[in-house]
């Protein structure tokens, strides 16, 4: 395992230049984009003095290279500046927004990955038969319908139409309404009733011994996680299906059958495992994308996560906030992709570095 340890250390060490490079791209990109100078577009009623004041406070009138080094040094200390919109330290804002996004992403992946693997495996094993066609139709459908539309449809069906069917029965109606709340992360007012240790509310509510709030949180997470999960499941299922078809044609599958190894073991233990391991890269990428803010989902379900924060900051041309979010995304995506690579190397003995 010596080579693996070395590989892990190398990958972690490589993280630093990778993040530096990406952060640099973010910095320059934000400064060449149209409307990059926020002071000019913030508010037409501002006087010239006021605009200059803002520019000066952001250091925008200084040479670019000076700004860049200033930015680098501040980024290392995670000093991302202050948001125009909320006037709060951006690092604090991001800390608050990261918790909901993390919960949503984890649940999305927890739902999406197993669902995708099962669908892909079954579709591949039933190639060109009914189950395969149904699963493929589903995965294509879910992937081609915009996620916010899926979210809205889910809200319509689960929060309104289906409970309405049971309007005659108050108990079922109340339960359904309780399980499928349409928006937000918690019922109004609940957010203040527990200690915010980590800002990952799932952990906080448990640590505060408010399991009723944990349950409330989970019901609120159900629909958005399902919407995200189905999207991921679609991507993974298509990849797993293709790999599965390839592996079911391989000699080792025939040879296993020739030794009398049962069909289920051959398909779902041998071929499926071989089909899933190469998708780890895809899974980690999907997870990183979710962590980097499922903008549409968070906006549709009104979840105060990174995606919604980015969306709101963009709308108001909150320049330092957008830059801060981008820096955080860079860090998250880099770290998750390294974790994915290490996991792949652990699961596939053929990967050596």
């Amino acid at each position: 395992m010596g080579s693996l340890t070395r590989f892990v250390i190398t990958r972690i060490a490589l993280l630093i230049p990778m993040i530096w490079l990406l952060v640099t791209i973010v910095f320059f990109l934000l400064r060449v984009l149209p409307g990059a100078n926020p002071a000019l577009v913030m508010n037409p009623k501002l006087t010239n003095e006021q605009v200059e004041l803002i520019s000066e406070s952001l250091g925008l009138e200084r040479p670019l290279i000076e700004q860049y080094f200033d930015f680098l040094i501040k980024t290392i200390t995670f000093d991302l500046g202050v948001s125009y919109r909320t006037n709060i330290d951006i690092a604090t804002e991001l800390g608050l927004a990261f918790g909901p996004t993390l919960m949503l992403s984890v649940f999305g992946v927890l739902i999406g990955v197993p669902l995708g693997i099962v669908m892909g495996g079954v579709a591949g094993a039933h190639r060109e038969r009914y189950l395969d066609h149904i699963i493929r139709l589903f995965t294509i459908g879910i992937y081609s319908i915009p996620i916010f539309l899926v979210g809205i449809f889910m809200q319509m069906f689960f929060s309104y139409f289906i409970p309405d069917i049971f309007r005659g029965n108050p108990t079922i109606y109340a339960i359904l309404k309780e399980i499928f709340p349409p928006v937000s992360l918690m019922d109004a007012g609940n957010t203040g009733e527990f200690n915010h240790y980590t800002e990952i509310w799932l952990i906080d509510t448990i640590l505060s011994f408010r399991l009723d709030l944990t349950l409330d949180l989970l019901t609120h997470l159900l629909m958005p996680s399902l919407a995200l999960g189905m999207l991921i499941a679609g991507v993974i299922a298509r990849q797993v299906r293709t790999n599965m078809i390839y592996h079911l044609e391989q000699e080792y599958v025939h040879f296993a059958r020739a030794r009398g190894i049962p069909e289920n073991v051959v398909k779902y233990r041998y071929a499926l495992k071989n089909s899933v391991v190469p998708t780890i890269g895809l899974i980690s990428l999907q997870f990183a994308l979710l962590l980097a803010g499922a903008i549409l989902t968070e906006t549709t379900f009104n979840i105060p996560g990174l995606g919604r924060f980015l969306f709101q900051s963009l709308q108001e041309k909150d320049f330092p906030a957008v830059q801060g979010v981008m820096v955080l995304f860079v860090i998250i995506v880099s770290i998750v992709s390294v974790i994915g690579d290490v996991l792949y190397a652990l699961l596939d003995p053929r990967i050596t570095y």
Binding site: E251, H254, F255, G260, K273, V277, D348
Partner: protein, 350 residues
């Protein structure tokens, strides 16, 4: 003519050791692959008997249906359909047996040795786990199982220390030994060996054939050895079946086939073996033309178009299997009009 091969060929043993108890009997087997344009007839009216303890070579060009026949016997044919015929193994009819029972037969009763050229072993599974999975499928795991694995590894000269390795860490020859060991661990009565040594270099191949020969004797195996290499056939088989276009054109004792091949196709095959000592035969010879299209084949001799002896009759009728008598008494069958009493005279001028 074929002395170079025969010199290495083993002496045919006394015939009564074989050829009395049939282990596998195939009768009039027809297998087709349905395709868009009709049916591809991969196996066309094949009848074949495998006797206990013999090694029967199945020889033919690629695409002639020899592998399909192997997979049909194991009922693992992908996309192919058995149209008619009978495969009886130990008085069990394999054509009609339910898949559940067939799965139990695969491994301990009849099995297949694959060519280890590409992924014959699960790339993500340690070699030891291949053995454990295979044994656990059919038997309860106990100390004896462990002994059995070690004994077989020793027999096939696979170092025990490498059981924890993954397949990709082995050389081709070593992988092939593992494949053979995995088949033998269940003590099958019948083994279908599908070109097990083809992917290996000649030295490794020679050593492996040597081991195979010893093991066949030790374990009293019955083997259907599928290959296109006549050298291997001479080396290891007791009898040979020559397959062409899904049909068995000739079947008989190995020595007889090499010395007195009856069918024009068999003769052409043997002629095509290069011989570095013989100046005339140094050049590679070949049979002009190519095998017929197997989609809805016409009812004529399948080799007629390429046969240098062919007469009108060959292009109008399908030859039947004819028994020939050689002095060693081994059944010898050939599908050719030349040996048919009714039509033989048509070929007299040749």
């Amino acid at each position: 003519m074929t002395s170079s091969i025969l010199s290495s060929a083993r002496k045919t043993q006394s015939n009564d050791r074989y050829y009395n108890k049939a282990l596998l009997e195939i009768k009039n087997l027809i297998v087709e692959y349905p395709v868009k344009e009709g049916n591809v007839r991969a196996i066309d009216d094949v009848s074949l008997t495998l006797y206990r303890g013999e090694v029967l070579g199945l020889v033919g060009e690629s695409g002639c249906g020899k592998s399909s026949l192997g997979f049909t016997i194991l009922k693992l044919l992908k996309g192919g359909v058995i149209r008619s015929g009978e495969i009886s193994f130990n008085d069990i009819n394999l054509v009609t047996i339910p898949e559940g029972e067939m799965q139990l037969l695969r491994g301990p009763e009849l099995s297949m040795i694959f060519q280890a050229s590409q992924n014959a072993l699960n790339p993500l599974q340690k070699v030891l786990n291949h053995f454990i999975d295979t044994l656990k499928t059919h038997y309860r795991w106990n100390d004896e199982s462990w002994q059995k694995i070690l004994e077989l590894l020793n027999r096939l000269e696979i170092p025990e220390s490498r059981l924890e390795d993954y397949p990709f860490q082995f050389s081709g020859g070593m992988q092939q030994r593992i494949v053979i060991a995995l088949t033998l661990i269940l003590n099958p009565k019948l083994i279908i060996a599908d070109e097990p040594t083809t992917a290996l270099d000649v030295l490794v191949q020679a050593r492996l054939l040597e081991i195979l020969k010893e093991i066949i004797k030790e374990y009293d195996l019955t083997v259907l050895y599928i290959t296109h290499d006549l050298g291997i056939v001479a080396e290891i088989t007791n009898r040979v079946a020559i397959m062409y276009a899904g049909q068995i054109l000739e079947i008989g004792d190995t020595q007889t086939i090499f010395q007195n091949a009856a069918h024009p196709y068999t003769r052409a095959l043997i002629e095509a073996i290069p011989n570095v000592k013989d100046e005339e035969k140094k050049l590679l010879s070949f049979i002009p033309g190519h095998p017929p299209d197997l989609r809805n084949p016409p009812l004529i001799c399948c080799f007629a178009d390429r046969c240098s002896y062919s007469q009108d009759i060959c292009h109008s009728k399908k030859p039947q299997s004819i028994n020939l008598n050689f002095e060693n008494g081994v059944q010898h069958k050939v599908k050719c009009f030349i040996y048919d009493d009714r039509y033989g005279h048509l070929f007299d001028q040749k």
